[in-house]
Symmetry: C2
Subunit: 405 residues, 2 copies
């Protein structure tokens, strides 16, 4: 199942960025499962990574390489996450970088490795011997679509985004990919995002922006609350276009940031739309919080409530479940009679109780739609937050319970 998402195909190339795809036989034969993204000399690259303490070996290597060099290649394999693999996993990740560095004539530290797939099994190193030369051979600035398909695990749809706009008189292109659908079927993991622009962005600024952009997109989605060991999101600035951004107040910086934010959010939301067993795409907005963290805590508590999620699956406007989730979100001095809750424009809770004008069929009509907004007003202050989530369906249980048995 997937909610209002179709394969994106209108990719615009990014000058300075080429992509190559290959069949490496990492785990399954005859599928595109290895992707190389080549960055031209002078490109900048920033990243944010999983906060899971059990982060996979390629994530640790990636972090370290990013600190000590300017990347030339991103090497992505699907089928094996190289997670929970200890010292051997670390050595294997380094060796895959070494192989690409030799073939691509750069330093090993200029290669960033990304793995997604089964946890706890050793990497198939012969797959790199086969896949790296083939993917290098395949490099083209026109292969975004095949790359989006080549990094999928149990995604049902390749996920992409592309936009061209004029900022401060310069034409700027933004193109990106993402993958992920939860922590996915038994032993499968990882959300990945790769977003590139031909603008030139100062390296320190790029890293800060990457964090801020991920916080408003990939860090604001939840399907099942389970953080993978392999999550990575990379922002690439090839610098081949005419726009140069050195500081937050450079001409065009605001517009570029806004355009990148849209790219990040569309790609993040695509993961929710393709979420495991998802039949609903839900925007959860919390307003009137006293602190930013408070808004986020309430939003996550509601988004992770199995009772709220099953009610959404059933198109059941069960305001008691939403209310109970708000009530246990950890706000000690919550004034319950200040709380108002809306489904789109239908008010279901007024001053902490059932809204007098509310009729069940109005709530049910909103929830029968594939996409809707749940808006929670806390009446405590000016802080807000928004996140995106999916429902909890029979299909979710089937995907996660039945597959291996």
């Amino acid at each position: 199942m997937a909610v209002n998402i179709r394969r994106f195909t209108d990719y615009l190339p990014i000058a300075g960025v080429r992509l190559g795809v290959a069949q490496s036989n990492m785990r399954y034969p005859e599928r595109d499962d290895m992707v190389i993204i080549e960055l031209a000399e002078g490109s900048q690259c920033a990243g944010v990574f999983t906060r899971n303490a059990f982060c996979a070996a390629p994530v640790s290597v990636c972090r370290q390489h990013l600190q000590h060099s300017t990347p030339r290649y991103l090497l992505i394999n699907t089928g094996n996450a190289n997670a929970g693999t200890g010292e051997q996993g670390w050595q294997d990740a380094l060796q895959s970088c070494q192989q690409l560095a030799e073939a691509g004539q750069c330093a090993m530290e200029q290669v960033l490795p990304f793995s997604t797939g089964v946890i706890g099994e050793p990497l198939n190193m012969t797959a790199f011997e086969r896949g790296i030369p083939a993917a290098l051979q395949d490099l083209s600035d026109d292969h975004w679509d095949r790359a989006a398909a080549g990094i999928m695990t149990t995604d049902t749809v390749p996920k992409g985004y592309s936009q061209q706009l004029v900022i401060a008189g310069e034409t700027v292109t933004i193109t990106g990919l993402s993958k992920g659908a939860g922590m996915i079927k038994p032993d499968m993991a990882t959300m990945l995002g790769f977003i590139a622009t031909d603008a030139s962005i100062d390296a320190v600024l790029l890293q800060r922006w990457c964090g801020q952009l991920a916080d408003s997109s990939f860090n604001r989605i939840t399907i099942d609350g389970d953080t993978s060991t392999n999550d990575c999101c990379m922002l690439i600035a090839s610098g081949r276009g005419g726009l140069h951004i050195d500081r937050d107040d450079s001409p065009g910086a605001d517009a570029l940031f806004a355009a990148l934010k849209q790219a990040f959010q569309v790609l993040a939301q695509a993961i929710v739309r393709d979420g495991e067993g998802a039949t609903k795409f839900v925007t959860l907005q919390v307003n009137g919080a006293a602190q930013p963290q408070e808004a986020l805590d309430v939003a996550y508590t509601v988004a992770h409530s199995p009772l709220v999620k099953t009610a959404m699956y059933a198109s059941d406007a069960n305001w008691g479940r939403i209310l109970a989730a708000v009530g246990r979100a950890g706000i000690d001095d919550l004034q319950v009679d200040q709380v108002n809750i809306f489904l789109n424009d239908v008010q279901i809770v007024e001053n902490g109780g059932r809204c007098a004008s509310y009729q069940e069929e109005h709530g049910a009509a909103v929830l029968a739609q594939a996409e809707f907004l749940v808006r929670i007003e806390l009446g405590r202050g000016d802080c807000s937050d928004t996140l995106w989530t999916s429902d909890l369906s029979h299909e979710y249980v089937s995907i996660n319970a039945d597959y291996r048995s």
Copy 2:
């Protein structure tokens, strides 16, 4: 579904405690749905209540009455939670107390009200007119079994416990009831526990013990992580037996506390065994934590992970999912290579990776059982915690999504 639980019938009466059951037609006709527990003069009663900010009107009334008087009656109705009902709900709860106080000839503050059932609908007050006289008429020290059935909502089994033992040369009896199966089907809520002993216990000590006992039992179970608006747990000491406990170091205090702890834990675990859609009863033990809270955080993160819960449902010893949940439990300086995980005696994770000796069929054999232990060793210190949870099945989704639609 329910895991290794059958109707308990061997109740021993508690001198000074009588129970009456009636059909009040609160929501459904012709079912026992109103219970009165009468406490003889001189009984002490302590309670712990939901921490949900949207606590129901009867919970607020109960808390207040408990502070200002010595209870003579507990009045419990099922079918309607009187939650999310605002000022009217508060007045209705008071009025139900007033009705019982008049009929039972005590002060209104000596009645404690408890409600469980639908959220957001006004109480059916004529049900009390019918139910209170009938339940008073029915009072007997032998009606624990019917009372256990009379407080059920969607529980599949009435839940009880009874034990007699000799402490410090005195015969002591402990008998209790509980109900709950999650936040239960659409709009139904509440876990309730009532435990009585004929020992005499100092009132201040009783309240402290009640909190400590609930923390090691009802506050250590989780089915779906959703806290109800109506949760209450009451500890009653009728004082009609020969054992008198004034202080923690009174003769027999340790033995009585231990016996009460067993009663609390059996009744709490009964709720998990009867959990919505439960097919597995899982004990989650976290050892080697640096702080008590850390052990609890890890245990809850694992217990609430939909991926871990669906894997248990599938009898799939998916150690990667458990590992990933431990990794996102918020321990910043977790040394992943110190982590070991066991299913009963089968080690699945050794030093943060797959245990070398582990074979998948051994893990699957453990998880194929209806009850098993997941033991997580963090290797950071001496703190431990244990909680009990159930799996996430198709039946859970059906109960929570399909019922109202």
